[in-house]
């Protein structure tokens, strides 16, 4: 039996008080809380094992290297990549996307096209704007419908042999929409285009199989996956990663350096210049272990229950409208209350111990499209409970009353 109460025991922060109220943490789309084993692994690493990795012959260096590489192996299994070296460690989703956008900026040409959508997080929009700017390629943007779904007919129409890359989010962080990525990947591959899926909001909430999906690139952040901050993943098919020019230059990513000519190392090192976030990567494994122990499908099932429950309760509140009403949604609810500013609502909820996010959620085009200046967003994780939602809904009502 799935028990959020049992899970909560391993998340020490969930027991804290905020403003004299028990913390209700519903800002999980921004970052999740950390499992005790993740926290302990960081400490243990620094207290007993710390050393720089790769190339060292001494014991600690070997130990750190092994543990670092074990996380790569875990990530490989977690997403079912074909090869371990298809897993590149970055500092986060944003870093992963910028890596790819930079590399593509070196191979795209005038006339080439990149397709993104109107629902992208700025991290999956601005890098492509820059990439197209630098390479003179054209950026095409799939609009979204009123319910917050991709306009698939537009997408089909825009896909052409000019399309070189499609970069879309798996799950929208401001609307909750789950995009039909299987279909999108299939359509993309009917052309010669490659596809990147931004999985920042998906990796902790959807079962992943990059081989089955046949996705070319996929990325996510550890910190949204019960793991540490400062760690991200870029998965890419071996052949494509080999073909792309490197991103950052420096230690580890080279094979041979002479003053005027440098040859690059093999995957994954080619894309991992410099000392990485060693402690973070090593601790990240524990987050994956945790997710696999509970089962991401079980987590999703629980979150779906919360989503439906909260949606029904919120819909009962007068003047409250949910922004993002796609039939397939993940545990994210954005809403506005007419006449009330999200910022005021957030302030009062905070005073009552409820942590939600307010604003544009780094998706200004979505706000514009939906014709709102921002929203209040509640987002769930595997440890949230119905009781928390009941309390939150009461707090929202109270806040609306104060503010009306």
């Amino acid at each position: 039996m799935y028990s959020p109460e049992n899970i909560r025991k391993y998340f020490p922060i969930l027991d804290s008080e905020v403003n004299q109220h028990k913390l209700v943490y519903l800002d999980n789309a921004a970052t999740t809380q950390k499992h005790q084993s993740v926290i302990d692994t960081v400490s243990q690493f620094y207290e007993k094992e710390n050393s720089n990795i790769h190339r060292g012959v001494h014991y600690l260096s070997q130990l750190s290297t092994n543990k670092f590489e074990q996380t790569r192996e875990s990530v490989k299994n977690f997403i079912n990549a074909q090869h371990t070296h298809e897993v590149i460690f970055t500092k986060g989703t944003t870093d992963s996307i910028n890596l790819l956008a930079f590399s593509y900026s070196k191979i795209l040409k005038k006339g080439d096209e990149v397709i993104v959508s109107e629902m992208e997080h700025h991290s999956n929009l601005v890098p492509w704007q820059m990439c197209c700017d630098y390479s003179q390629a054209t950026l095409k943007v799939i609009p979204i419908t009123n319910s917050g779904e991709l306009d698939m007919s537009f997408f089909k129409k825009e896909l052409s042999k000019k399309t070189k890359l499609v970069a879309l989010t798996h799950i929208s962080n401001s609307l909750g929409t789950i995009n039909p990525i299987e279909k999108i990947i299939e359509l993309t591959h009917q052309t010669d285009a490659k596809i990147l899926i931004d999985g920042a909001q998906a990796a902790a909430h959807a079962k992943l199989d990059v081989q089955k999906l046949d996705v070319d690139f996929y990325c996510f952040s550890a910190h949204k996956l019960y793991g540490p901050t400062g760690v991200g993943v870029l998965y890419g098919k071996e052949k494509l990663l080999n073909m792309l020019p490197p991103y950052q230059g420096g230690g580890e990513m080279i094979k041979d350096v002479s003053i005027h000519k440098t040859t690059y190392a093999e995957l994954p090192h080619k894309f991992e210049a410099g000392t990485p976030n060693i402690a973070g990567v090593i601790a990240f494994k524990k987050a994956i272990d945790f997710i696999e122990e509970i089962g991401v499908e079980n987590m999703k099932e629980h979150e779906d229950i919360l989503l439906n429950y909260a949606t029904l309760k919120l819909e009962e509140i007068p003047n409250l409208s949910i922004i993002g009403t796609a039939p397939k949604k993940s545990g994210i609810i954005s809403f506005v209350v007419s006449g009330i500013h999200h910022y005021d609502l957030g302030l009062i909820l905070d005073k009552l111990g409820v942590a939600i996010r307010t604003g544009h959620h780094c998706t200004q085009p979505v706000m514009k499209k939906m014709n709102v200046s921002g929203t209040s967003r509640i987002s769930f994780a595997c440890y949230n409970t119905k009781t928390e939602l009941d309390y939150t809904v009461d707090c929202i009502k109270k806040a609306i009353k104060m503010l009306s």
Binding site: N19, I340, H341, Y343, D344, L347, I348, K351, T358, G359, S373, M402, L403
Partner: protein
């Protein structure tokens, strides 16, 4: 005669101290916000926006009888309450005074803690902008 900045500040501190809990303080700010006169749409322009606030704040100033008069608006009511409070203290004062008076009362209200860093930044941005207006008028 217009009360001094210090006096009005003290008044506000006294009013705030009457409230025992945050709910009442927030209610008070909300009421202050609601009491702020509506402003003409023509003032809600890019140039009048104060950056550094989490909600939009428009602030405009004019000089009348050698005094600086502020008008402002915000899309968030709490922010409006704060700016209403600042206007109550600073609007109608001499530019010189606005520039030089110590705004101690803000610390006494404990707004900084009440409001947390980002919001305190917003508050500071507002005050800074008001002083900049005052400076501009003084130099004329």
């Amino acid at each position: 005669m217009q009360d001094s900045i210090e006096n009005i500040g003290e008044e506000i501190v006294d009013e705030f101290n009457m409230f025992e809990n945050w709910i009442d303080k927030y209610d008070y700010l909300i009421d202050l916000g609601k009491s702020l006169p509506k402003i003409d749409e023509k003032y809600k322009v890019e140039d009048n926006i104060i950056t550094g606030c989490q909600s939009q704040v428009w602030l405009h100033a004019k000089q009348e009888d050698n005094k600086v008069v502020f008008i402002a608006d915000s899309d968030a009511i709490m922010t409006k309450g704060i700016i209403a409070m600042l206007i109550r203290v600073l609007s109608g004062q001499k530019a010189e005074k606005i520039i030089n008076t110590n705004l101690d009362f803000i610390n006494k209200i404990g707004l900084n803690e009440q409001l947390s860093q980002t919001r305190a930044n917003g508050l500071n941005s507002m005050i800074k902008q008001m002083k900049i207006y005052a400076l501009a008028f003084k130099d004329k």
